[in-house]
């Protein structure tokens, strides 16, 4: 907690659930430690700003720094990623059975992805859904425009739907921008990273 500034402490207090509070403070402290190490600055010199859609960026000595970073947490898992350049997004989700899986499937997956998922049963279906979700959320977070983008309007590359760990991706609306995707998940959690390539 000592590493957080007053604004972050206020945000910490707004969390109404102990687990959510703990995840926030641990991930924010880890992010500060990583960024201070990478940028060679003291913790007191590091602040955070946010874009119109809420994507945070680093501010050092009052000036925006170009380093990319992104954070996600779920249950007992946290994920922090950073890169010197290129937009970056990460997502981690604990793999848990959900009674509303079918509702989510029709909300966020394309028809092609839904067809792929329909071939799976039981745990395999849950496993694939969470993988697809984290890849899509990592892309959305990397883009930094929130859910203003139709999540069901783009597809995770077919190879990744079938188990390949890395791939490249282009949004249909912006084919000139290439993203590197990596599925970081294991049996307990799904996780993914999306990084803009130049």
């Amino acid at each position: 907690m000592a590493w957080l500034n007053e604004e972050e402490k206020a945000r910490w207090q707004r969390y109404e659930h102990d687990g959510a509070r703990r995840r926030f403070v641990l991930c924010r402290a880890a992010l500060r430690a990583i960024l201070c190490s990478q940028l060679g600055c003291e913790n007191e010199r590091l602040e955070f700003g946010a874009s119109d859609h809420g994507k945070p960026f680093a501010v050092v000595n009052g000036r925006r720094h170009p380093i990319s970073f992104n954070v996600s947490h779920s249950g007992k898992h946290g994920l922090v990623a950073f890169a010197p350049k290129g937009r970056l997004g990460v997502d981690v989700e604990e793999r848990v059975a959900r009674r509303d899986l079918d509702v989510l499937v029709t909300s966020v997956l394309s028809l092609g992805e839904q067809a792929e998922l329909a071939l799976k049963r039981g745990c395999d279906k849950v496993h694939l859904f969470f993988s697809l979700w984290t890849i899509k959320e990592a892309l959305i977070k990397a883009l930094g425009k929130g859910f203003s983008l139709d999540v069901s309007g783009f597809e995770v590359p077919l190879a990744m739907r079938r188990g390949v760990v890395t791939s490249t991706f282009r949004f249909p609306e912006m084919p000139s921008v290439r993203w590197r995707l990596e599925n970081l998940g294991n049996e307990r959690f799904a996780a993914a990273i999306a990084h803009e390539q130049f």
Partner: protein, 78 residues
């Protein structure tokens, strides 16, 4: 008939969890679901439930952007 607020409270109580536990009681209508610890996946699923309950047409973006449950109630009552 129950008010929109009552129906939203019931939907939250019956469907939203954080770490497998019911959302904090009493439900704070002025808090952000994210501040309550609800994941984006749960927010999207909750939006679909609201659509079914109120015959509404909230998009994934609408669900993610509504700042508080009270804002959602106001939106549904408008």
């Amino acid at each position: 008939m129950s008010s929109t607020e009552d129906r939203i409270r019931q939907l939250v109580e019956e469907n939203l969890e954080v770490d497998g536990q019911p959302i904090a009681q009493p439900i704070n209508l002025d808090s952000n679901l994210s501040d309550a610890g609800v994941s984006s996946m749960d927010v999207v699923a909750f939006g679909k439930l609201v659509n079914e309950e109120f015959n509404a047409n909230l998009s994934v973006e609408d669900c993610a952007k509504l700042p508080t449950l009270r804002a959602l109630i106001d939106h549904l009552d408008a």
